[in-house]
């Protein structure tokens, strides 16, 4: 780890000023400190933002507002979230470990960096870490990498489970900079790698995430998250599905489906949703709709199994969520 200056922000203004001077924000630190130790991240200065007033969970009839400094464990344990947004609570409790969930913030969860081994190894080529050096994963060990949203420059998966649930629910990321507040649709927040994989999100330079807002919709109550992993707990997804359904008298009125572990950003599946809406709920329908889950996939040498796996993951989760009381 390289030396750095450290300060603690008492309010938004001091945090934004520190960032303008080049400091990086730190909250839970569970990603940043790990990457600093590997020298993937080399900030000259850190500003601790944990004293900022972003700690509330506010559930209203029309929307849930989650402060950016709420811990993963706090949000997962919130009774209203568990009842009205099971997909959020499940995605959180299937993430990381109990210790890390007690540390990691919601804002930081969205800002997680990839788990690609080449990204984390400073001796390897990586366009995301060191633009223009190439991508060692494309011709290397890529069993865990993405099949959707990839480019010639990068094939790393996005690591967050929570973000998959939030993309399915059309959440908004609320940010603040010197010019005031911005509200960014979460589907616009995460950027596919394209030719600039080092640009991971649309957050302005030095901007703070202050909160995430999630609209309350009828289907959010009937929702859930399925995560398929190489071991049963404390592991990143190989394939994952966030599903929310509104089924009235046997007919699907609304459907929200997003997948993780297979794409470079949390990946919404409009073709699957369109195949469901207006149709009669049945096992055949789940299979037919889920068959579109890997549309446009570009498998790599070692991850071709994900094409079938993601279809089966979505099919199973559609059946599970449709069967909820």
């Amino acid at each position: 780890m390289y030396p750095f200056r450290f300060s603690k922000a008492d309010d938004e203004r001091s945090a934004l000023s520190a960032a303008t001077s080049g400091a990086r924000y730190i909250a839970g630190g569970t990603t940043l400190i790990d990457l600093m130790r590997e020298t993937v991240e080399r900030p000259d200065a850190l500003v601790d933002i944990t004293a900022l007033p972003y700690r509330d969970i506010d559930l209203q009839p029309s929307r849930l507002r989650i402060g950016a400094l709420v811990r993963m464990s706090e949000l997962a344990a919130h009774p209203g979230v568990r009842e009205q947004f099971p997909v959020i609570a499940q995605a959180l409790e299937l993430s990381a470990s109990a210790q890390i969930r007690n540390m990691a913030s919601i804002g930081g969860n969205l800002m997680q960096r990839p788990r690609c081994l080449y990204f984390r190894d400073v001796s390897a080529s990586c366009n995301r870490r060191s633009p223009g050096t190439g991508c060692a994963a494309i011709a290397g060990r890529n069993r865990t990498h993405a099949i959707l949203g990839t480019s010639d420059a990068c094939v790393a998966t996005h690591p967050s489970d929570l973000a998959v649930a939030l993309v399915a629910l059309d959440a908004l990321v609320i940010t603040r900079d010197h010019n005031g507040e911005s509200r960014i649709r979460i589907s616009d927040f995460f950027l596919q790698p394209g030719s600039t994989p080092d640009q991971e999100h649309s957050l302005g330079h030095g901007a703070l995430i202050t909160a995430v807002e999630v609209p309350v919709v009828p289907e959010s109550r009937r929702s859930g998250y399925l995560k398929v992993r190489d071991r049963e707990s404390f592991e990143f997804a190989i394939a994952a599905a966030a599903v929310a359904l509104n089924v009235v008298a046997g007919t699907v009125r609304a459907a929200r489906v997003a997948v993780g572990g297979v794409a470079t950003v949390p990946w919404r599946l409009p073709p699957v949703e369109q195949a469901l809406i207006g149709r009669t709920a049945s096992a055949d329908l789940w299979r037919e709709a889920a068959s579109h889950s890997a549309d446009g996939a570009k498998p790599l040498k070692e991850n071709g199994f994900k094409v079938e796996l993601i279809k089966r993951t979505v099919e199973r989760q559609l059946a599970t969520v449709a069967g909820l009381p």
């Binding site: 750095f4 603690k8 730190i26 400190i33 464990s73 210790q99 890390i100 540390m103 049963e232 404390f234």
Partner: protein, 173 residues
Amino acid sequence: MASAPLLAGCGEDEQANTATSSVVRVRINGEAREITVDNRTSLLDMLRERAGLTGTKKGCDQGACGACTILLNGQRINSCLTLAVMHDGAEITTIEGLERNGRLHPLQQAFIDEDAFQCGYCTAGQIMSGVGCIREGHTGSPAEIREWMSGNICRCGAYTNIVTAVAHATPNA
């Protein structure tokens, strides 16, 4: 700081609150401590190398094994994944702080009674995590204990007895 070693964080610092070092005031196991640390020092390294509390163990140093688990303001965390400098004013409990008046904590006693360790390297972290798990109310069944203790790795494979120890200690902890 150009001469600072890359793997710093463990050595003595020359002075307080320089550009890259800071004074941290914490209560560790009930005792007030004031320690000057290089900003890079993890909470784990401060406890082990500066506070002299070597019961907390360093396994992976990347948040994957749980050997460094402590209670920070009453909640279990990985002390390797956080900076000491971030915790001015915090209340910290380590394995050394669990006993009361010479009596082991019920979970420490349960680990002995149930033979819940072999080499012992992960044990301090397992016990601290177990204390947190019991407080959080996630010890209702062996399956629930396994899931909520999954942040603690035991390479000897003492898991069966660890789960039993946590379950048996739950009513007494």
